[in-house]
């Protein structure tokens, strides 16, 4: 898990029911995330399922993304249990998703892998930001600020998974509490 408590940069804005086929289409599931070069390749295919005509997400020349923050609506990450989805986002260089709500497995995979922070907004932020807007996300304060006018939006507290996120993922947490050997 990225330990940065402040993440600053342009946002990529999506709406409701962003599904795992959009995040990483199934034709790329032949890549194995624990093989380093395939992990990087997964990053280059993040959001490859976006409909034609959308702004490209992985637009940097090295295949990474200029967007460290994704803003979404309700039910972000619905569909498959493919862990390739949060991994592709993390491998592309995204640090956090801020959405109104999450599909269960995507949220869990984000926390368990420590690839990205899955944060929940108090309000519908996909109507308050557009792709490319600069934002500053403060994890400790649970806020996201729209840089253009300084407007601050509050996020929900992380809740029961906070210790897992703080530890850096499922394995680190289980070691910390002695559930598995160090």
């Amino acid at each position: 898990m990225s330990k940065e408590s402040v993440i600053k940069g342009p946002v990529y804005v999506l709406e409701d029911n962003v599904d795992t086929d959009l995040l990483i289409p199934a034709c790329y599931l032949n890549l194995v995330p624990t093989i380093p070069e395939e992990y990087r390749k997964l990053g280059s295919y993040a959001l490859a399922g976006l409909p034609d005509g959308c702004i490209k997400f992985t637009s940097n020349s090295d295949g990474s993304t200029p967007y460290p923050i994704i803003i979404g609506g309700r039910n972000f990450g619905c569909g498959s249990s493919r862990e390739h989805a949060p991994i592709a986002l993390g491998a592309a260089g995204t640090k956090a998703v801020v959405a109104e709500s999450y599909a269960r497995i995507f949220f869990r995979n984000s926390v368990a892998t420590g690839e990205i922070y899955p944060l929940e907004s108090e309000t519908r932020l996909c109507d308050c930001f557009k792709t490319g807007d600069l934002a500053e996300l403060n994890i400790a304060k649970s806020t996201i600020t729209r840089i253009s006018d300084g407007k601050v939006f509050s996020l929900k507290p992380i809740g029961a998974v906070a210790p897992v996120i703080a530890a850096g993922g499922m394995f680190a947490y289980a070691r910390e509490i002695g559930m598995i050997k160090s």
């Binding site: 619905c78 569909g79 249990s81 862990e83 709500s101 995979n109």
Partner: protein, 429 residues
């Protein structure tokens, strides 16, 4: 407690649990396949060590099924990773492609092979693992990291879900199937209507359904965001399981006074066939409202709609008739494939009924085009095809092409549509 709470309490060694509790639950079965198995193994080795042994080799079930009939080299490499791991760990429950043990789609094979038992916990690296709740198990989909954890530790930290109860009573009308029932329910509560919850299905209409049909209902619980779908084991389920496993098990049941988050009631005798229009499974419409939609092909297959009973329903409609559009038949498992020969309607095998109707050559069992997959996958869309499919998801690009339009339907509706080339209510055939 509800059935889900009781199973989780038992698996955690606790006398009681309540929704919201975070508990360590022992796994009775860990299921994985060719798409997520290699990554799971990678995590297991990274975290537990190169020489680590799995927590219990009898409890690991590996069923490659996704990318089997393809020339994709990485897909073949991934199955080889599974083969090497199975050999290294000496795992007995591996169903090896290219050999007699290969079975096909994991969620249809799992109950049939006797890996599903009432009252047990099943974790699988596939969202449709919720299928196995149809036999009274707690069964849920997880990612590679959690699966790698279970592979070494045999347990997982999970949150006890609230339960939403669906009571379905009444007599099933002709040409209405379990797929219509679950599409009605998802359409009513929405694709996030059961997020983090257990969906428990009960009532006389559920009891009247076959095991295959119950699996269809629990299979799509994840399409409403649920953690698990579950149907308490009745005599029919107990008989099904007892014939397939030698391992003892204890079925559990919801208490009469258990607390649920919400309850929905249906009289199925009043329901009509439905489809889910593009591009979400909750985009419900009556089939008869879609009769002007022309389709390019019909797909009958997958863990949702590729079971023997699904093909029986389709064959009932197609018998003695000819298809008007390309029709693709993908039996989920080799057992289902054999069933197409052995199961007859008025003396004619299902396979012969399909062949006489003029379907495409029947494909070998696998997940095939349900999730698109490698470019050479059987039935994958590549253009602007309009597809009526018995599968589970109709997201943009789900079956391959981002420009194709997928209508999710029952086997009856899919078969009726294949005969006319337009979305067709099976009651009109």
């Amino acid at each position: 407690m509800t059935i889900t709470e009781k199973i989780l309490a038992k698996a955690a060694g606790l006398s009681s649990v309540k929704p919201g509790d975070n508990i360590w639950v022992n796994a009775d079965i860990l299921l994985t396949h060719d798409v997520c198995g290699p990554g799971t193994i990678g995590i297991f080795k990274r975290e537990f060590g190169a020489d680590a042994k799995v927590f219990d080799k009898e409890k690991i079930v590996i069923i490659p099924d996704h990318y089997i009939y393809t020339k994709d080299q990485k897909a073949h490499r991934n199955v080889d990773i599974l083969r090497d791991f199975v050999k290294e760990q000496n795992l007995p429950c591996f169903y090896n492609p290219g050999t007699d043990s290969y079975c096909g789609v994991c969620h249809v094979a799992m109950p049939d092979l006797g890996h599903v038992r009432p009252g047990e916990t099943i974790f699988g690296t596939d969202s449709h693992t919720c299928t196995h709740g149809a036999l009274g198990a707690f069964s849920t989909g997880i990612g590679n990291t959690d699966a790698g954890f279970i592979m070494g530790a045999g347990k997982l930290l999970i949150k006890v879900p609230e339960t939403i109860r669906f009571v379905l009573d009444g007599e099933m009308p002709d040409f209405l199937s379990a797929k219509d029932l679950i599409l009605h329910m998802i359409g009513d509560i929405g694709v996030d209507g059961a997020t983090y919850c257990a969906m428990e299905f009960t009532g006389s209409a559920i009891k009247s359904l076959s095991i295959d049909e119950r699996c269809t209902i629990c299979n799509m619980a994840v399409e409403a965001g649920a953690k698990n779908g579950i149907i308490a084991a009745d005599e029919k389920a107990m008989e099904y399981v007892s014939g397939r496993t030698k391992k003892p098990f204890e079925a559990l049941y919801s208490d009469d006074d258990c607390v649920v988050k919400a309850e929905y009631r249906y009289d199925v005798s009043k329901l009509e066939p439905v489809v889910a229009k593009p591009h979400l499974p909750d985009n419900k419409a009556l089939v008869r409202e879609c009769k002007d939609i022309k389709v390019d092909h019909v797909y009958i297959g997958s863990c949702t709609g590729g079971k023997l009973e699904d093909f029986y329903m389709a064959a009932k409609i197609m018998k003695g008739r000819k298809v008007a559009v390309r029709t693709l038949i993908v039996p989920a498992t080799r057992h289902v494939e054999q069933g197409l020969f052995d199961t007859k309607i008025d003396g004619q095998s299902l396979r012969s009924i399909f062949e006489d109707a003029g379907v495409d050559p029947i494909a070998p069992p696998s997940c095939a085009a349900c999730l698109g997959g490698p470019y050479d996958t059987f039935g994958r869309t590549h253009g602007e095809e309009v597809v009526v499919s018995t599968t589970n998801r109709n997201f943009v690009g789900r079956m391959g092409s981002k420009k194709s339009m997928i209508y999710l339907a029952s086997p009856y509706t899919a078969a009726a549509t294949s005969l006319t080339g337009y979305i067709t209510d099976p009651r009109d055939i």
